[in-house]
Symmetry: C2
Subunit: 347 residues, 2 copies
């Protein structure tokens, strides 16, 4: 009788423990989701267009062609996809892109996936819009290297197949083949380059979408303070910050050169070593890291960030969890994104 009672009590106790544990897990998961929703947002379904460049199918199609159009460049060898090949998530796997006739670009090429959501473009944020980025690239000695806009425009004008495409994309304009419209069309195409991931499903309430390790990583990411800068829909991409708040970044990264960041643009002391906070979407598949591509491994990049930004030394396990969480930010590439269009022949 006594034994039976003890057995019963034990059974009930074990049962209650399980229920408590299960509800604990669920509560923990609910709490994590609640916290995550405070700092992150799912990728919106529309990338905002500026007033003077509303998106149309004709413009997007033209822009997609121009994205792959090497005849926009002085050498005939450079197109947007030179630095942003879709097969590697619209980034190019090297520290600094190789541009016009082998010229090495000053900084690492960020992916153009989701780029239109950012508050500005380029590492120093000196390109206020996608349009400006594309437009300026036409003259950049590292990129298209045209001596002037006429050069680029005239080359496109000399290709008869483009005439109708520009007319359709910019109806009512008498001479639509201009560098501004080239940049507009490319930007309209770039605004179709969404890449949502499992993290969006998690934020939408799909708690089980993330693995235990990824959830743990998200927790460590939040606890460590990474989300102070890496937040919002892009997990970054919305503010400027100093790289190396606690210690100089180049001592940790081993950078060959010391990039002054926005200081070189504004000449204001407070902008020294200030860079745009990079979005972390697709970060796992777009190495190497930092503005100079000085670090190859993502685990090392995570460690360095904790160290130079917050003076924290993460243990191996925490680094591993964060890396695991960052993997959930790897998006899918649609067939549309992976398909090129046939360009009109030269003559």
């Amino acid at each position: 009788m006594k034994i039976k009672k003890i057995l019963w009590i034990s059974f009930v106790f074990v049962l209650l423990s399980f229920v408590a544990a299960a509800s604990g897990v669920s509560q923990e998961s609910d709490e994590l989701l609640r916290q995550a929703r405070v700092v992150f947002q799912p990728l919106p379904s529309v990338m905002p267009s500026p007033k003077d460049n509303s998106s149309t199918p004709a413009k997007v199609t033209l822009g997609k062609m121009l994205f792959y159009e090497r005849r926009l460049s002085a050498s005939g060898g450079i197109s947007c996809q030179t630095c942003h090949p879709m097969s590697t998530y619209a980034a190019d796997c090297i520290p600094k892109s190789i541009g016009h006739l082998g010229k090495i670009n000053p900084r690492n090429a960020p992916t153009v996936l989701n780029a239109g959501f950012q508050f500005s473009q380029h590492w120093r944020g000196d390109r206020p819009s996608l349009e400006d980025q594309a437009d300026v690239s036409l003259l950049s000695p590292f990129a298209y290297a045209n001596a002037n806009y006429d050069e680029a425009q005239n080359r496109i004008k000399s290709i008869p197949g483009y005439w109708e495409l520009f007319q359709k994309a910019f109806p009512g304009e008498k001479e639509p083949i201009t560098h501004d419209n080239i940049a507009r069309a490319i930007s309209a195409f770039e605004r179709t380059l969404f890449s949502s991931s499992r993290f969006d499903q998690f934020l939408a309430g799909g708690k089980k979408v993330l693995t235990d390790k990824e959830r743990k990583g998200l927790n460590v990411f939040l606890d460590t303070g990474c989300a102070a800068c890496h937040n919002g829909a892009l997990v970054g991409g919305m503010t400027f910050q100093k790289f190396g708040v606690v210690t100089p970044y180049w001592k940790a990264t081993g950078s060959q050169e010391i990039d002054q960041g926005r200081f070189d643009i504004t000449k204001r002391e407070e902008d020294r070593y200030i860079f745009k906070v990079p979005p972390l979407r697709n970060v796992s598949v777009t190495d190497p890291y930092f503005h100079d591509g000085s670090v190859n491994r993502i685990d090392r990049a995570v460690k360095i960030m904790a160290e130079v930004q917050m003076g924290k030394r993460l243990n191996e396990q925490d680094v591993e969890s964060i890396v695991s969480f960052l993997g959930s930010l790897t998006g899918t590439l649609t067939q549309e994104v992976l398909t090129v269009l046939v360009l009109p022949p030269s003559r």
Copy 2:
């Protein structure tokens, strides 16, 4: 009565004339098709694989990835698609391709569409197979610029995602990531790059597929003697010939340098100015022309060929017809050809 009779006779006469004319057109068309079938063949449905590189879906998939794989190159900036972008019919619209860190290649990049049907590769035919072409490119200072094969192999070995792909493509091999297998996979993919055109439908009996102008052009093409070299399934690509039989080619093309052709390979006097006869499939959309890309316009290229090879001066109308016929050799690019695959991340 007399008038009625005259009217009847006139009517019958006119009717007979029409019938005769129609049958003449048909006979002429039949005769043209007959003649065409003597010298040309439709594109076969299978590109022949060498014995040691039979094609499998796994190999083709891997090869397609490697075709776009810049990490095969010393700089990280060059892939097969650098010289052979699919959006412009797998040729690059410039006289000579821009390779490793801006190095200008010695000759124009031919399209890789249908290339596996040719008897050899490159302008001088010094690459006996697609495999050899891909393999040698890995070390070419103008292309991948690896110091040795280990460099290329080790870079691919360092990408975990490739291990399984190579194992599937080369089952049973212990260490499948070798330069030979890289070249084999790329070649297997290239053997899927068919590009048939309206001309194949014509050869299959679809006489109405070609326009009047194109048929006339085909006639002039045959009459002029172009098909002496440009024949077979590729309308070329199967023999060596001297460029400039009647007069030196560079006087007509305005070439900056005099390329000695196969002489530089064999050192035999009879090989001076000898080049592979280029296939004319997709010629309309793969300008500029000749081994050095010295001529932009296809009409000028046609004129030059008649002049320097056969000492003939074609009139404008004949040139125009031939150009029109050559347009019927422009193939279609399948969605498959226009789609890239996602490559495995570096780490």
